[in-house]
């Protein structure tokens, strides 16, 4: 291994990689914004330019969106040979491999029907089957009786435990004992870990009996069975002759173990490690473990840290992280953080939101900052915050966009509209929607229709579960109120529904969604036209409905009375399925202010001029998500099975989390940070989180210093 190389200017960096031979294995480490992914891209181009067959090059990332920069670049280029470059995550690879070699592993793995095909479960279907499999047990034996938690969340924590076991590599039968040893000492709650254990085993039993494969099961099969097959190994070696691994610090021990097995046989490798990241710990990321891969590399490069920060931001970054570091060093005061830090205290949350909107307007209008160079971050982005901030910005003519990683599908207006239309189109379900929902669906479905007129339409023309033609509005004056242009669109939509009903109305539900979206709603004059977010939601709904149909099609063997389409609509309505889904990054207007949870912004990996940190009193800035039945650290690879998790561990973890976050945020910030503070949060609580404490300490130190002067 060669010496670390950290002092070269950023512009030279991709060349450092391309200067390496085509059969070299390189470990590349660097901070945020130091040009690592650019180097990865340069490497990819170099391989292709040298005539390496595309299908022998594999990209390996912790989540699919992180491969996007590579795939986009490839789409823009052409002229390389030998198939296509594939991007994999552990999940996709495990699933493909298990599917391919199913008949070789199913019997040994204990499936009841090894000769029948496997059923891979999406996230939402897992939730559905989980409810089916263990709810009777939970009710009958009064499991978890001392836990105050909604049932849906309870099941998702049991799944989480199973996934952690698969990713870290311990048997699911150890979940309970690990949690109990670490968290259960002397606690009234200790029995809940036994309950969680029983439920995990019961769900696994159910899956084996019905040929169902959830994430934890196929990852486990991949590790323990598929990789043992010579044929599978040979296939993977072919596909992974050249490998580029990005954000390896965000990946889990199972991914790392797979790479460890693979790397010795690879011809070349580039493994990229972000030393300022490791944010996905709650999903099993293990940045410490990732470092093991370095030993399989021929040399290591170091790209140093970000070059984007101004002196003020740099000072802020240093002071905040120093305040949280374990070492008791005096605060570094070489340069002043004050010019980079802006804040104002407010009593109420809405006042704070007003202030944020004003400051953003000032930055854009008076200082010429581009909207895309401003980001508004909060630990949690509630609809209230998103809504009220976007409204305030819109009033000032400022465009904003927001991404939230996951929420219930039924909470999306576009999805709700589609479900309402499905109910209108299927009278035989005897599940007619309420007039209020019809009004909402009309508003969402017809461009230019406001809620007031939508309500008028629904109140007069929606009768006995059917929409009547527009001309049946009693008078010309009434039609006038709606306007004829709208009336015409309304009639088109209605006519489509009528034609569908008359044709028998028996499409599968996902096909229905696809058709009404493609044939009506996405056309000019209708609500989803040009609305990428709505289109995305519609596609998510189609995927979810199709997944549901496919999986349950198979369940008909056990129950042939299932009406899948109607069941789907009812299940979504009740929140049993489609309760969580991952929303892809939507190509919205890019020159707009981004409003996002802090970690979503970080995973987007793009520096900006100004960051607004909202709700700085919130504990959530520094804290993991607490769940009574699971624990990301106790179920991690580095945890000693008999150790006890203490408050000191928790406090140290919080400090470490916040410190990492500070570094990651400030290194993606060029000019300044605005702090949004209100004494009362949007829920009326008074937050006193660690972030606030750090800021107070910083301000106090500055106040003392100026007093000394």
């Amino acid at each position: 291994m060669s010496a670390l190389d950290s002092e070269r200017p950023a512009a030279l960096r991709p060349q450092q990689i391309t200067a390496a031979a085509l059969d070299e294995k390189i470990w590349l480490e660097g901070g945020a914004g130091s040009g690592k992914t650019s180097a990865g891209l340069a490497r990819l181009r170099q391989l292709l330019a040298a005539g390496v067959a595309a299908d022998s090059i594999a990209l390996f990332v912790p989540q699919r969106s992180l491969a996007e920069p590579y795939l986009q670049a490839l789409r823009a280029e052409s002229g390389y040979s030998g198939g296509i470059v594939r991007a994999y995550t552990l999940g996709s690879l495990a699933r493909q491999t298990v599917e391919t070699f199913w008949f070789l592993i199913a019997e040994g793995a204990g499936f009841a029907q090894p000769q029948a095909l496997p059923n891979f479960l999406s996230l939402e279907l897992v939730q559905y089957f989980m409810t089916r499999a263990i709810e009777p047990l939970v009710l009958e034996r009064e499991y978890f009786h001392s836990v105050r938690i909604e049932r849906a969340r309870l099941y998702s924590q049991i799944l989480d435990n199973m996934n952690k076991a698969a990713l870290v590599g311990f048997p699911i039968s150890e979940i309970g004992s690990r949690l109990k040893a670490a968290l259960g000492g002397g606690i009234e709650q200790a029995h809940i870990f036994d309950d969680a254990q029983t439920c995990a085993l019961e769900f696994r039993r159910y899956c084996l009996a019905h040929n169902l494969l959830d994430f934890s099961l196929y990852v486990q099969l991949f590790r323990e069975r598929a990789l043992m097959l010579p044929a599978a190994r040979a296939r993977l070696s072919r596909r992974f002759r050249h490998v580029i691994v990005d954000n390896v610090e965000e990946d889990n021990p199972a991914s790392h173990a797979f790479l460890e097995q693979l790397l010795p046989g690879c011809q070349s490798a580039l493994i990229i490690y972000d030393s300022d990241a490791g944010f996905r710990r709650f999903l099993g990321a293990d940045p410490e473990n990732a470092r093991r891969l370095r030993q399989y590399c021929d040399r290591a490069l170091h790209f140093g840290t970000s070059q984007v920060m101004s002196a003020g931001v740099s000072a802020l970054s240093a002071q905040l992280s120093q305040h949280l570091s374990e070492a008791d060093a005096p605060l570094e005061r070489e340069s002043d953080a004050a010019p980079a830090l802006h804040w104002e205290a407010h009593r109420f949350h809405p006042q704070m939101v007003d202030w944020v909107a004003r400051q953003i307007a000032e930055l854009i209008e008076e200082r010429g900052i581009k909207p895309r160079d401003i980001v508004v971050l909060a630990p949690f982005l509630s609809d209230v915050l998103r809504f009220s901030l976007r409204e305030r910005l819109a009033k000032r003519g400022i465009r904003a966009r927001s991404h939230r990683p996951s929420r219930a599908l039924r909470e999306e207006p576009a999805a709700r509209a589609l479900l309402t239309l499905a109910r209108l189109a299927h009278p035989r379900w005897e599940y007619a929607p309420a007039a209020f929902d019809v009004a909402l669906a009309l508003m969402a479905g017809i461009a230019g229709l406001d809620f007031l007129r939508a309500k008028l339409l629904a109140d007069t023309l929606y009768q006995r579960g059917r929409l009547l033609p527009f001309h049946q509005l009693r008078s010309a004056a009434a039609q006038d109120r709606i306007t004829f242009a709208i009336g015409e669109r309304y009639d088109q939509l209605r006519a489509w529904l009528d034609a569908y009903i008359e044709a028998g109305g028996s499409d599968a539900i996902d096909i229905f969604f696809r058709r009404i979206f493609g044939e009506v709603l996405s056309r000019a004059g209708f609500g989803f036209y040009g609305d990428a977010a709505a289109g995305n939601t519609a596609m998510n709904l189609v995927d979810s409905a199709r997944g549901f149909r496919w999986s349950l099609e198979f369940m008909r063997r056990y129950d042939d009375s299932l009406d899948l389409a109607a069941d789907y609509a009812r299940m979504v309505d009740r929140g049993v399925i489609a309760n969580f889904y991952l929303r892809d990054w939507v190509a919205e207007d890019e020159d707009s202010v981004l409003i996002a949870p802090a970690y979503t912004f970080l995973l987007g990996n793009r520096p900006v001029d100004y960051q607004f940190w909202l709700d700085i009193g919130s504990e959530a800035w520094s804290r993991r998500l607490y769940q009574p039945l699971t624990h990301p650290h106790v179920l991690s690879r580095g945890w000693q099975p008999q150790a006890v998790w203490t408050d000191a561990d928790e406090a140290a973890l919080n400090r470490q989390t916040l410190r990492r976050l500070f570094l990651a945020l400030t290194r993606r910030c060029r000019r300044g940070v605005y702090l949004g503070y209100s004494e009362l949060s949007e829920s009326g609580y008074e937050g006193r989180g660690l972030l606030l404490e750090c800021i107070q300490a910083l301000l106090r130190a500055a106040a003392r210093e100026s007093a000394d002067v």
Partner: protein, 747 residues
């Protein structure tokens, strides 16, 4: 700026250890405690992250404390709240549990049920139980009521709900889980039937909470304690953080509150408690007891201080209050005397030169009526007296204090009839109702936006903050009337072919009004765009637009939570149903949510020239120039005499049993594995109640600054007597007046 008098300065000299302060009404204990917090803050070098923890009783006091500390401490270029945190016991417990929810078996998103929601769940549980056990009443009903279906189906079930609530509260206060109670009840077989009933309902209730991922207020406190006891490492870090604990209203501290604060302070910790044991009036509703504070002050190792000076009342009123203390110490009923319902210190006037001198003494302004009035005669006389006095004293404040809400409502009828200006501060406060009402109107409009009448109502809501400005109400009404006459609401809110504004207000006409309505249009249109949001978030978004006041926001938040739960239980509910729910709450005067009335800060001085009608409980902490203390008879202020009736003893039960007290006694027997004898708890409850009522009387007397009138009535059935303590006070005052002397006891 706060200038301490000598006794206050003694408190301010506190620097470490345990401090117990017994204060009298009007002695400035909150001001003193705020000043102490501010002084400790400026004189102690707190490390980063360390804080002074101030614990008080109600939310309004939290805001008040924060304001007072902020006013004293100059925090320069810092964010507010640096170095101190003011909490109620509930919000403190919330802080503690939210740091470590999983240790308490909670998820991050656990919800806290307000009183209304938990009552609903309890009522469901009791109802189900009663239907399964239709014969359970037989053991407790009086023989003459055994076959009365009304009693069996309605009164008995209502009583069960109340008793079960007390039982569960007591169990949680004793840290007994439902499972633990059930196990103990089973061990005792059928010996303790009420405990067995309580246990079954408790289990049912807990299952319902668990299923909702929710806790009630008692749980929050119980779980906070549990976390502190089970996580010594966490406790240690909190001790490190909260270097001082200052506790106000410590007389209303319960055993759990004391235990939690004692744990947080730790051995050798810094804990200062200030309270007035004579004003502990929450015993019957909670598990609070002034004995805890008294014992704390008397314990070796605690620095005991007094705040005996008060500049609030004229001397004669202070002497009357002191006389009540003195009389109660030698109460004719030995059991009551033994409980020491009221204790010294006596109230002293402020020293000469004090910034808050007592009002000049005027013995003629202290009137204790001997006459036996009927309730309506009493109401009439007080109303007339009030009317005369307010006419003569338009800048002064007055109050009519009652023991029960019902009596307050009757008085309000009289005042209305006689056109006496009044403010009502009864059952659910007008602010709570106003907040829910405003939200109901907003949702009502969003559910049916084509209604011009609803639009007009929303317009009023939009300008609700301005109604107090003189003359503004008329303007608002005029515009609202105009909006009400709009034929097509969309022509104003989403104009297409016709713009109502253009037609009704041409551009050159009344420009300010036009601009104003443009603003309103923009706001209402924004609300209409929000109808797709989940109900709780929609409600919070609306809240951000119309409420500025802390209490209003907190109330609105609770409404949002309530509706979110409703939505969860009824996924088919939409805006029309949610609006209907809120109208229901706003109209039926149910005491809504955990935002009890004390939490909306009532300021008597903002209502000069009007008379406030309020209960004695809500009057605590407040003062008026003239006070009428009415209905002081042996029904509202019993003394455990043979002909006294007690609210807790229902007419349809046998042997004057107090079912709630008996059930709690059986719970205590379960807990201690001790014996239980029927009836003893009912008798003890009488003594306890009589003692608390004496303190309530004391609170009433000490609300008055310059004039106090006390009357009594013969009750609904005409058989009530003058309350025994009033009789004693009146006899004493008459003799004092006869002596014309000013050197009476209590000095």
């Amino acid at each position: 700026m706060f200038k301490p008098r000598p006794k206050q300065a003694e408190v301010l000299a506190y620097r470490r250890g345990l401090l117990g302060v017994a204060a009298v009404p009007g002695s400035g204990k909150t001001a003193t405690l705020s000043a102490l917090a501010a002084r400790l803050l400026t004189e102690t070098e707190l490390a980063d992250g360390q804080e002074i923890l101030v614990v008080t009783l109600v939310n309004s006091a939290v805001a008040n404390f924060s304001r007072q500390i902020k006013a004293i401490v100059q925090q320069g270029n810092l964010l507010p709240g640096y170095g101190y945190r003011v909490r109620t016991l509930h919000s403190l417990a919330n802080d503690i549990v939210r740091q470590m929810p999983s240790a308490a078996g909670l998820s991050e998103q656990f919800s806290i049920l307000d009183e209304r929601a938990s009552n609903e769940i309890l009522a469901d549980a009791v109802d189900a139980w009663a239907r399964r056990n239709p014969d359970a009443a037989d053991a407790y009903l009086g023989a003459e009521h055994l076959n009365n279906p009304q009693v069996r189906t309605t009164h008995w079930v209502k009583l069960l709900i109340d008793s079960a609530r007390d039982f569960i509260r007591q169990a949680k206060d004793s840290l007994l889980t439902a499972a633990a109670v059930a196990a103990r009840a089973e061990r005792r077989g059928g010996q303790l039937p009420l405990a067995a009933i309580g246990s079954e309902i408790y289990q049912e209730y807990e299952r319902a909470l668990a299923y909702r991922g929710a806790v009630d207020f008692q749980d929050l406190i119980r779980l906070a304690l549990q976390v502190l006891q089970e996580r010594p490492d966490y406790l240690a870090s909190l001790r490190q953080k909260w270097v001082y604990i200052l506790e106000d209203e410590a007389q209303d501290s319960s055993r759990l509150q004391e235990t939690i604060l004692r744990l947080l302070a730790g051995a050798g910790g810094n804990w200062a408690r200030v309270g007035d044991p004579n004003q502990a009036i929450y015993e019957s509703f909670t598990t609070a007891d002034p004995k805890y504070l008294r014992a704390f002050i008397a314990a070796p190792g605690a620095q005991a201080r007094e705040l005996p000076n008060s500049g609030r009342s004229m001397r004669s009123i202070q002497r009357l209050a002191n006389r009540l203390i003195q009389w109660s110490l030698a109460h004719p009923n030995a059991a009551i005397a033994q409980r020491r319902p009221l204790t010294t210190p006596y109230i002293l006037p402020t020293p000469a030169g004090d910034p808050q001198p007592n009002p000049p003494d005027n013995p003629d302004a202290l009137v204790l009526y001997a006459e036996a009035f009927s309730p309506s005669r009493e109401a009439m006389l007080v109303t007339e007296s009030c009317k005369r006095w307010l006419a003569e004293n338009p800048r002064r404040t007055a109050a009519i204090l009652v023991a029960r809400n019902g009596r307050g409502s009757e008085i309000v009828q009289f005042l209305r009839r006689k056109e006496v200006p009044y403010v009502e501060n009864l059952n659910s406060t007008s602010t709570t109702r106003a907040v829910v009402g405003a939200l109901a109107r907003l949702l009502g409009f969003l559910a049916d936006p084509k209604s011009a009448a609803k639009l007009a109502a929303v317009y009023r809501v939009w300008r609700r903050d301005e109604r107090e400005i003189p003359g503004r109400e008329r303007e608002i009404n005029a515009i609202a009337e105009r909006l009400k006459r709009i034929k097509r609401v969309e022509d104003l809110l989403a104009p297409r072919l016709v713009d109502w504004l253009e037609e009704a207000l041409p551009a050159d006409e009344d420009k300010p009004l036009r601009a104003h309505l443009l603003d309103f249009r923009e706001q209402a249109a924004a609300w209409l765009r929000a109808v797709e949001m989940p109900i709780d978030q929609l409600l919070l978004a609306l809240t951000g637009d119309i409420f500025r006041n802390v209490t209003d926001i907190a109330t609105a938040h609770m409404v949002a939570l309530h509706l979110a739960r409703l939505a969860q239980a009824n996924p088919q509910h939409r805006l029309p149903q949610f609006a209907a729910e809120l109208y229901g709450i706003a109209q039926n005067k149910i005491k809504f949510a955990g935002l009890t009335d004390e939490e909306s800060q009532f300021d008597p001085d903002a209502h000069a020239g009007k008379v406030t009608v309020t209960t004695l409980h809500k009057a605590k902490g407040l003062e008026w120039d003239r006070v009428y203390l009415i209905s002081v008879n042996n029904y509202d202020f019993p003394s455990a005499e043979p002909d006294d009736t007690f609210i807790g003893e229902r007419w349809f039960l046998r042997d004057r049993l107090n079912l709630s007290a008996e059930a709690r006694a059986q719970l205590a027997a379960l807990r201690s594995d001790g014996a239980y004898a029927e009836g003893a708890a009912s008798a003890a409850a009488r003594i306890e109640y009589a003692a608390e009522r004496l303190r309530l009387l004391y609170v009433g007397i000490t609300r008055a600054r310059r004039a106090l009138t006390i009357t009594w009535n013969t009750g609904r059935n005409g058989d009530a007597r003058e309350a025994t303590p009033l009789l004693a006070l009146r006899a004493w005052w008459e003799s004092e007046r006869a002596k014309g002397a000013d050197h009476a006891p209590g000095r």
